[in-house]
Symmetry: C2
Subunit: 336 residues, 2 copies
């Protein structure tokens, strides 16, 4: 038989007091006499008593658990995000339930469902690339569950946000390429339904404008994974002859591009300079080391958890959603 964990009433029975007395003693309620409290606490400790989080949650309607949804844990940016969230949450007495949408809309909807079923107190979400319909998020907010959008967000949903200054980051990176002498810069872009996709493109575009360079449609490609890059390989190699710089929306794509170019004999950065976005650890492992825009994943995670918990614990403080923008600075290495 399964030896069920010690409960408050087990302790009460054993000590000949009532469950309420035990409950109060354990949380240092002033009404309980020094003596009883001592007895109870000692016995609880001895029995290895631990409060049942399920019962606590059911009773208090607060689970002290935050739900997190990210596209994929394997990506360094998202795992640092999670570390930040976890560290802050734990320090404030919260637990975290993590889900991956695997960039799949259906799965994201299921994730939300599961987290709500578990009565998480709030949600931290970086939604999937596929997500175009945001009604599942609207439902969350209608149910008054506080939610923070991380990194990726959309205008339709008015909620707290923690984002990188994608526009600025992209602009700085592109400017850097231009300053190095690039005139024809290929932009490997994310889908334009993603805010980060648009912003990074706009930053790129703005840099061109400020330097009086033309925007060439043919030099803006939707290509944000190594797989897509491989699929576009032939086309890219044709373009390569005409370009002298590449700005990619993330480091994996930047590096795949760099390696494709290297294989075909293009020198980097002398013939074509390459810049990425995200400062993934692989940026320093590849040769030449990748020049890229730094994103503060860990800090963003912490900040988002802080905002969420703030809303949970002091709902009155601030009512209108706020957006926290993290600056993006350029890390200049060898590739550009």
């Amino acid at each position: 038989m399964k030896p069920h964990p010690t409960s408050i009433s087990d302790i009460a029975r054993a000590l000949g007091v009532s469950p309420s007395t035990v409950s109060r003693a354990l949380k240092d309620h002033p009404d309980i006499s020094e003596a009883t409290r001592g007895r109870i606490k000692a016995f609880a400790k001895e029995m290895n008593y631990r409060p049942n989080a399920l019962a606590l949650g059911l009773r208090s309607q607060r689970s002290y658990t935050l739900g997190v949804i990210v596209p994929e844990i394997v990506h360094h940016f998202f795992s640092t995000l999670i570390s930040g969230i976890e560290d802050l949450a734990y320090s404030k007495g919260y637990r975290v339930m993590i889900c991956q949408s695997t960039e799949d809309y259906q799965r994201e909807v299921l994730n939300i469902q599961a987290l709500l079923d578990h009565r998480v107190d709030g949600l931290l979400v970086a939604f999937s690339k596929q997500t175009l319909d945001f009604s599942h998020f609207k439902t969350v907010l209608e149910n008054q569950i506080p939610m923070v959008f991380l990194d990726r967000f959309c205008k339709e949903i008015e909620t707290d946000r923690v984002v990188t200054d994608d526009f600025q980051g992209a602009k700085v990176a592109t400017n850097h390429l231009i300053k190095r002498g690039c005139r024809k810069i290929l932009h490997l872009a994310a889908p334009q339904n993603l805010h980060i996709g648009r912003e990074r493109f706009e930053g790129y575009h703005q840099a061109l404008i400020e330097n009086e360079l033309p925007l060439d449609d043919r030099l803006v490609l939707h290509c944000d994974t190594s797989a897509k890059l491989r699929a576009l390989q032939d086309h890219l190699l044709v373009l390569a002859k005409d370009i002298d710089g590449v700005f990619a929306v993330n480091d994996f794509t930047a590096i795949s591009m760099m390696q494709l170019l290297q294989e075909k004999g293009f020198e980097i950065p002398s013939r074509i300079a390459v810049a990425g976005f995200g400062d993934d650890p692989i940026a320093t492992i590849v040769r030449p080391q990748l020049t890229t825009v730094q994103q503060k994943g860990y800090e963003m995670g912490k900040e988002s958890a802080r905002m969420l918990i703030q809303r949970l614990e002091k709902p009155e403080t601030q009512t209108t959603p706020s957006t926290r923008v993290f600056p993006a600075s350029l890390k200049i290495r060898e590739s550009a």
Copy 2:
């Protein structure tokens, strides 16, 4: 005011039936008439009814949640493990709570605590490098919570295990180095309290024996992170003059070593060949591409979740702990 989620009794009240009828109707209990069931289901759907997982868990003493503890999500191997676990768990109707110990013993103990508080049905654990005392795991088993050790395990705790054939993998990798002509192979090892650390060393050793090469103590170093490698840099460069091969316990260390050697002008693999362990994605990004032992993280994750759920749902089937060993095959690339 917070609009509380629809409960079974909300539905019962609205429809003028009893809660038990609603409960039964929703789970297609045969006693309930077609008509009532229809009415109830329709209304529940309309109200967006969702069962409260906390109440369910409290009532049934089963949370349908698995607890997972890994050292660090950022490592590719562990995030693939998690993906495997999640996919299988979701397909069987289980949720997953993920914790990171950050290779910290204290935190691991807290993680276990938190997961038990949440009444997870079972545990999947890859414990931290620091962990030398296993009493927290013993407590888990004494409480009859099924647990599976993943990747890392210890002999003291008799429980299900899912591991890589570290010995074989290390032996094959070392043999490969020897076949290429290496005679003096440096082994960058993990701590020997970790089973994987010992096994990989033993595999290395066995390969030396089988090829009648001497084991040189000076060529076995405890060095399993880039940080440690940097700290040992000077010593390593002295050794480098005398060696012709390196077998590192993981890919990050292998690559850091490779880059250190390259910076100092050692040609790879012609002057010194390098092999790693794990087949991290960076292995194909670095130049020369890293020869390394493949580890099936995703499959191991799936298998471990399968074993755990099996024990939860059919506790009678098998009583003695079993160990599932995944073969480790060598992925030969350019570095060796």
